[in-house]
């Protein structure tokens, strides 16, 4: 048991050192990788790990006769969480959210500290010691605080009173409410009743079940089903339409939406709002196929006000593609991401 604790403690110390080195850029920031798509789970797991090893370290310090005072344990833990949220989590979370997490952490630590009378006394003892200034050391410290705190606060408030010239924050609705129907190339499509004419079984009938069975598999890589290769020269029907849709996608759409449909195309870096990431479960997986058809046909310029039509560079694809081509591209996007289009029922 003791050996295990030692290992945990050492592992924790190493992990903290690695994290700090990564934060200061002394080790490459991807030494411990953040796995794409699993970031929240990984974050919880890592934090749980750190809490565990901290307990081990604290226990070991106690055992070996160098106990860390409660007060400093609490401070160190709060500092650790704040640093972790700021530097480790990627993509970065905004300050307001971090402030919320930070407050929750402080409250939590406070509750931990004041759990019983004994702990609470231990916690406030260092503060009282400084206030009373019984020793020379504490006297110096107190003088330092008395002078330092007003100066620091002056600096902070000066900074916050400086005119803020950051980019203004604007909230955009990525998937605004669609219209009831849309007219493309002279034909009216009612969004509730229209169907993708290429989502068909070998008999040529609209068939969700048949086509859903042939999309790529979920899981790392999102690879195609072994016997459902759209590039097979013998591929007919649905799979052939997928390939044709893919050809159109890679001649037109991948510049922004990317080779892996994750919104990281060749031109994506220049644009704001950034192109949609279709592999994210919050985009096409949440939407009906006809919604995508409408969004693709009418593009950024066809969005309602809350979708920021002035800023989106998404082309109104009816200017570039035929209706059939648009349906095929939609078909391909669902195939390649391995998602089912949402249905109306």
């Amino acid at each position: 048991m003791k050996g295990l604790l030692w290992i945990a403690g050492l592992a924790g110390a190493v992990a903290v050192v690695v994290l700090v080195l990564m934060i200061f850029g002394l080790l490459p920031a991807n030494t411990v990788k953040l796995v794409e798509g699993y970031m929240p789970m990984q974050m919880l797991f890592e934090l749980a790990f750190f809490v565990g090893v901290f307990s081990a370290i604290s226990f070991l310090l106690n055992k070996s006769g160098f106990p860390l005072p409660r007060f400093w344990q609490g401070i160190a833990f709060i500092a650790f969480i704040l640093m972790y949220l700021k530097y480790r989590v990627y993509p970065p979370i905004p300050f307001s959210v971090r402030a919320m997490y930070g407050t929750v952490t402080i409250v939590g630590v406070f509750m931990w500290m004041s759990g019983n009378e004994e702990d609470w006394r231990k916690f406030k003892q260092p503060i009282l010691n400084v206030l009373d200034a019984g020793t020379r050391f504490h006297k110096t410290l107190r003088t330092g605080y008395l002078i330092g705190i007003p100066i620091l606060l002056w600096g902070f408030s000066y900074n916050s009173f400086l005119p803020n010239l950051d980019e203004p924050i604007e909230l955009r609705t990525v998937h605004p409410a669609p219209p009831a129907s849309t007219k493309v190339h002279g034909k009216t499509f009612v969004l509730q009743t229209s169907q993708n004419p290429y989502r068909v079984n070998p008999e040529g009938k609209y068939d969700q079940e048949y086509t859903n069975a042939q999309i790529v598999e979920q899981g790392m890589g999102r690879l195609m089903k072994p016997n459902a290769n759209p590039w097979d020269p013998k591929a007919e029907g649905y799979l052939k339409y997928v390939r044709e849709g893919g050809e159109i996608f890679f001649q037109n759409c991948h510049f922004c939406h990317g080779d892996n449909l994750n919104g990281r195309g060749l031109h994506a870096f220049a644009f704001n709002p950034i192109p949609a990431n279709f592999t994210d479960p919050g985009t096409i997986a949440q939407l009906q196929e006809t919604f995508i058809f409408w969004r693709v046909s009418k593009g950024g310029i066809g969005l309602p006000r809350e979708g920021f039509p002035w800023a989106s560079v998404m082309p109104p694809w009816e200017q570039h593609l035929t209706t059939d081509e648009i349906w095929k591209v939609v078909l391909f996007e669902y195939w390649h991401t391995g998602y089912y289009p949402r249905t109306w029922d």
């Binding site: 009373d132 893919g246 031109h267 994506a268 220049a270 560079v313």
Partner: protein, 593 residues
């Protein structure tokens, strides 16, 4: 541990060497050649063994990866002719000849690939797939494909799609590895960089890469092995280096590319005619040219895009007196510059899939009457239309004049591949737009990024390389501009100079004009701004151009008095609070005693 591993490696090499020697019968020539000197190998290189071929099940698994992910660009037969190929520049790799750009192996050799070990520095193709090729459409597949899937797909590519060569052909293939890990780098001292600066002249690097390394030396005559036009790299944008491995400022990558050359392109290996020391000097010099911030620190690179991080606010700083027209003037040099990133205009026809201008540096200052901008961007050529253009500067719908979008298929006469470097030359140009009457916009509404819309008009300032600087009104992407001659007269072109691959453009305009027509600046307000750029040698004209996202221009206000008053009040308050706490504590203690 390390000792053990290197020993087992040595044994492996010995066994393999003996094996190969027996097969090929060329004993003793290179078996124990540790370093290049004296062995006939270039300095810093060492002979290696051909890797084993991957097993059939890995190849089969890789085929599945290839036909899900790669076929769309690299094509069914790996000939670099997938559906996307012709609208990309650089084009996707043609695997058939086994020609790969980024390698640790000597010029002309196959790159390192071993299906068993994805070790950095020992598996070139694996690293290419992992990190992608920045500056091209090849993305980083890390986090998308697992390590195993990446090795599988490479097993498929190297055995099935590399058709003219075989990795295990001991008759024709050799493997000479650059020993990048064991060569000691020379630190980028001032002397080293100075030596490098001289060496790039002596070694004729500047003939292609240009006097200032902006890729403007021989920009229009270079072709790759397949006859497609390519262009020399700009040393100032290290984040676009294909071999940067998502570590743009790492000098080792430059050293490697310089030592091994770029197969399939006119970039040779300099291993034979430079010493290792000289190569470090050159690499240090090239690295020193890459853009940096005002403190000389590397720019922060966004790992998702492999481009410098962007701040969408362009801050214009207050100055007293006249605005200088010399870009080297202290008032300009003191201003922080901000990078504006550009993509092709791919929203309306004619779309620009291959934009050659991908970033512009902007500085701005203002005095009580005027605001001035300095734009600097790389362009490999100064382009001025040879003849008078048949259309008016206000016209935007140019399809009737034959300005059409290129079809997506290679081989078609109008395709991008057929036209690259052979376009009709138009004027280089630059423009930016602000909303007219932005004060009345209900936030967050703005006029559309592409020349405004019917409801909200924009104030467009456009400069062309023929020397014209004009003010227009825009009212939609397909609506012809309207001249604003009154305002045109009030604007001033401070400077427009193309030198060694860099345009410097300085434009000054009044802060206030006619409220109903011209954008009226106010201090401390965010003015939505969009930038446009045309490269005349890319056939850019009309809507075929590069375009930025929405940025904001803001006139920095001087610091108000409140900024000093309130913090002082707060600090005084805190001092009083401290006194109160201490008195209370002291009283309490007294009471206790």
């Amino acid at each position: 541990m390390r000792n053990l591993r290197s020993r087992s490696k040595l044994i492996l090499i010995l066994i393999a060497a003996v094996g190969i020697t027996m097969v090929s019968g060329s004993a003793g020539v290179w078996t124990f050649a540790e370093e290049g000197s004296g062995s006939g190998l270039p300095e810093g290189f060492k002979k290696g063994d051909l890797p084993p071929l991957p097993p059939a099940e890995m190849i089969e698994a890789g085929k599945r990866v290839y036909f899900t992910k790669c076929v769309w660009c690299h094509g069914v037969d790996g000939a670099g002719d997938g559906p996307s190929a012709d609208r990309l520049w650089p084009r996707p790799r043609n695997f058939n000849q086994g020609t790969f750009k980024i390698r640790h192996t000597a010029s002309g050799e196959l790159p390192l690939f071993d299906y068993r070990k994805p070790t950095p520095g020992q598996n070139d193709l694996f690293e290419t797939v992992t990190h992608g090729l920045p500056g091209s459409a090849m993305p980083s597949w890390e986090g998308i494909l697992t390590e195993e899937q990446r090795l599988q797909v490479l097993s498929f590519v190297t055995t099935q799609l590399v058709k003219d060569r075989r990795y295990d052909d001991k008759e024709t293939e050799t493997l000479t590895m650059l020993q990048l890990d064991s060569i000691k780098p020379i630190p980028p001292s001032k002397e080293s960089i100075e030596k490098g600066a001289q060496l790039v002249v002596d070694k004729k690097c500047i003939e292609c890469h240009g006097i200032n390394g902006r890729g403007d030396g021989n920009a229009f005559n270079l072709k790759d092995d397949w006859g497609f036009p390519i262009q020399p790299a700009s040393w100032h944008k290290c984040w676009n280096f294909r071999g940067s491995r998502q570590d743009a400022y790492n000098v080792k990558n430059i050293f490697r590319t310089f030592s091994t050359g770029v197969n399939g392109t006119p970039m040779p290996s300099f291993a034979d005619n430079t010493t290792v020391e000289e190569r470090w000097h050159i690499a240090n010099f090239v690295q020193s040219l890459c853009e940096r911030d005002t403190n000389g620190e590397p720019l922060p690179i966004d790992p998702l895009t492999d481009k410098p991080k962007v701040n969408f606010v362009i801050r214009s700083g207050p100055v007293e007196g006249d605005i200088p027209d010399d870009p080297q003037h202290e008032l300009w040099q003191k201003r922080e510059r901000r990078i504006v990133l550009f993509g092709g205009q791919i929203t309306h026809k004619p779309r620009n899939f291959v934009n050659r201008i991908d970033d512009v540096w902007v500085r701005s200052i203002y005095n009580n009457k005027t605001i001035a901008f300095m734009f600097q961007w790389e362009d490999r050529s100064k382009s001025v239309a040879e003849k008078k253009l048949p259309f008016q500067p206000t016209e935007v719908n140019l399809d009737t004049y034959g300005i059409k979008e290129q079809p997506p298929k290679t081989g078609e006469p109008d395709s991008i591949a057929a036209n690259q470097n052979k376009y009709t030359v138009y004027n280089d140009a630059f423009a930016f737009q602000f909303p007219v009457k932005w004060q009345e916009l209900p936030p967050p509404e703005k006029p559309r990024f592409l020349w405004g819309d019917e409801k909200y008009h924009v104030d467009i300032t456009k400069w062309s390389a023929d020397g014209s600087l004009k003010a227009f009104t825009g009212s939609g992407w397909d609506q012809d501009f309207e001249d604003r001659d009154d305002f045109t007269e009030k604007m001033k072109l401070l400077k427009a100079e193309w030198k060694d691959g860099l345009w410097t453009l300085m434009i000054q305009r009044p802060i206030k004009g006619d409220y109903d027509e011209d954008t009226y600046f106010e201090m401390g307000k965010y003015i939505p701004t969009v930038f446009f750029a045309w490269d005349g040698h890319n056939g850019d004209i009309g809507r075929k151009m590069a375009v930025s996202a929405f940025y904001y221009t803001i006139l920095e206000p001087p610091i108000p008095k409140e900024t000093y008053i309130y913090p002082t009040l707060i600090a005084v308050g805190v001092v009083i609070l401290e006194g109160w706490v201490l008195t209370r504590r002291a009283n309490k203690k007294k009471g206790k005693i």
